[in-house]
């Protein structure tokens, strides 16, 4: 670690290229916390958005027309509005309507903080896309396979959980992959409500140290690495789910 810091301090002195995040402990700390916050936002939102997708797609097949219409409405609203507007809607719109408490010094303590609102907003945004993605996968599962499950006594939910969803997932994994990469990139929008994720941390660092080009390149490299990691994990998952002798 010291050698790295030494290298970048020398680099700065020799060339003027100022990578503070690699030698200044304070900036490094801010940067790493930012990356950690991005990972945290991504992992939690990915998990929740997959659950939303699975539940939404299930409700879309419900015999109750009202439920189907509610899900369709949700999908339309969250797919067809800008994610930044959604974040503002939740944080500045809903956030101020919800009851809040006041601490000892009389400061307003909202029920949910900005990180929580970012997670809710991002999960719903990506979840709406996941509903459609899962639905396309479900449509690819042959009706006759579901019928075989019914004939064995499976309920609609049982057939969905044990047969339809596992098969649908395999079909829609490539589009799910795309959407989750998109979600990871969209976490930068949490910047707008002061969530200290990577972009926010970098902005603070370059404002103070006047090293925009250097920090910008670190920022881009960071996202390339994070997206690369996600894609690698998704491919591992895809391979783990591959069925011998199935398809092609």
């Amino acid at each position: 670690m010291n050698a790295v810091a030494e290298f970048f301090r020398n680099l700065y002195e020799a060339t003027g290229l100022n990578f503070t995040v690699f030698y200044d402990p304070y900036d490094r700390d801010r940067y790493l916390r930012g990356v950690w916050t991005t990972i945290y936002l991504s992992v939690v939102s990915i998990g929740l958005s997959i659950v939303i997708g699975g539940v939404g797609a299930w409700l879309q097949g419900s015999p109750v027309a009202l439920l189907r219409r509610l899900v369709n409405g949700f999908v339309v609203v969250f797919r067809n509005t800008p994610p930044l507007v959604q974040i503002f809607f939740f944080y500045f719109g809903l956030g101020t309507l919800l009851p809040a408490s006041f601490d000892a010094s009389g400061l307003r303590q909202p029920l949910l903080n900005n990180v929580q609102w970012a997670i809710i907003s991002l999960s719903l945004f990506a979840g709406a896309f996941n509903v459609e993605i899962f639905r396309s996968g479900i449509e690819a599962v042959p009706r006759t396979t579901v019928e075989a499950a019914e004939a064995l006594g499976y309920t609609r939910l049982g057939a969905y959980l044990f047969i339809v969803l596992p098969l649908a997932l395999r079909v829609c994994l490539p589009s799910l992959n795309n959407n989750l990469v998109n979600l990871l990139k969209t976490t930068t929008l949490a910047y707008a409500i002061a969530v200290p994720e990577t972009l926010y941390a970098m902005k603070q660092i370059w404002s103070e140290s006047q090293n925009v080009p250097e920090m910008m390149s670190v920022l881009l490299a960071t996202y390339i690495a994070l997206v690369g990691l996600l894609v690698w994990i998704m491919h591992r998952w895809e391979r783990a789910l591959a069925i011998p002798g199935y398809g092609r």
């Binding site: 042959p142 006759t144 396979t145 019928e147 075989a148 499950a149 019914e150 004939a151 064995l152 006594g153 499976y154 309920t155 049982g158 044990f162 047969i163 596992p166 098969l167 395999r170 789910l241 069925i243 011998p244 002798g245 199935y246 398809g247």
Partner: protein
């Protein structure tokens, strides 16, 4: 409220259809079908394509709801809004033309799934039974193969074992050999023959006339949604009375 089903005893028919009607939209597919069979009997349903054979047997396990009439399995009325579908489907196993195995599970898992998920039976006991069933359908060694790695005939035998794992009282077979190569048809027919010999109650829709003649106690010929003619195979094949039956048999034999 439906009256409590009278306790069924083996002196009464195990499957009983009375004046069953079924339409899809304006198309009348079943136009008053009645028959009954006793436990341990084997019947074959034959008839031209589109005559309603598949619809008929799919009504028996409530995959298709009927419009009018009555279907009773062990005395339980199938055409009842308050029908306990699980109770019915435990009693009635079904095997399809296209096997319809679950492609993401191995042969053994396919057989074990429903007893585990639906009946919530003990895993060890279920696995033991599944291994016996694999042996029964002569697929020892294929336990861990996925459906995509098996031949059509092998898949169909897994499908039969999967259905048997629920310990049904009645088995429905809907043209289960129609999608198979001639060489593999025999493996599947042998499995069904053994089942029938052990006393399983079977309803088979089939185009295999030789097999029907050999295995069935009674043959039903359907055309345009009604049973046109029926009888024991010897009689049925030797001297069909109805013109439509004669025509069908002359085409197929």
């Amino acid at each position: 409220m439906s009256a409590a089903a009278p306790t069924w005893t083996a002196e009464r028919p195990i499957v009983e259809l009375h004046d069953v009607h079924k339409s899809f939209g304006t198309v009348e597919v079943l136009r008053g079908v009645s028959f009954s069979m006793m436990k341990g009997e084997v019947i074959c349903v034959i008839g031209p394509s589109g005559s309603g054979k598949s619809t008929l047997i799919r009504c028996i396990n409530a995959l298709v709801p009927i419009n009018r009439g009555s279907i009773r399995v062990e005395g339980q009325e199938v055409n009842d809004p308050a029908l306990d579908k699980l109770a019915l489907r435990r009693k009635v196993g079904m095997v399809f033309q296209q096997y319809n195995l679950f492609p993401h599970k191995t042969a053994l898992q396919n057989i074990m799934m429903a007893p585990l998920h639906v009946l919530k039976q003990d895993r060890r006991e279920v696995e033991e039974r599944a291994r016996l069933l694999i042996r029964k359908v002569r697929l020892d060694g294929k336990e861990d193969s996925y459906p995509g790695e098996l031949s059509g005939g092998q898949q169909q035998r897994v499908a039969i074992a999967r259905s048997l794992a629920m310990r049904p009282q009645v088995m429905l077979f809907d043209e289960v050999t129609a999608a198979l190569d001639p060489e593999t048809v025999k493996e599947v027919l042998n499995t069904i023959r053994e089942l029938a010999e052990e006393g399983m109650t079977c309803i088979l829709v089939t185009h295999e006339m030789g097999f029907a003649r050999e295995i069935a106690g009674h043959i039903y010929f359907t055309d345009r949604g009604v049973i046109v003619e029926h009888g024991p195979p010897a009689e049925f094949f030797a001297s069909p009375k109805d013109e439509r039956t004669r025509q069908f048999l002359s085409q197929i034999l």
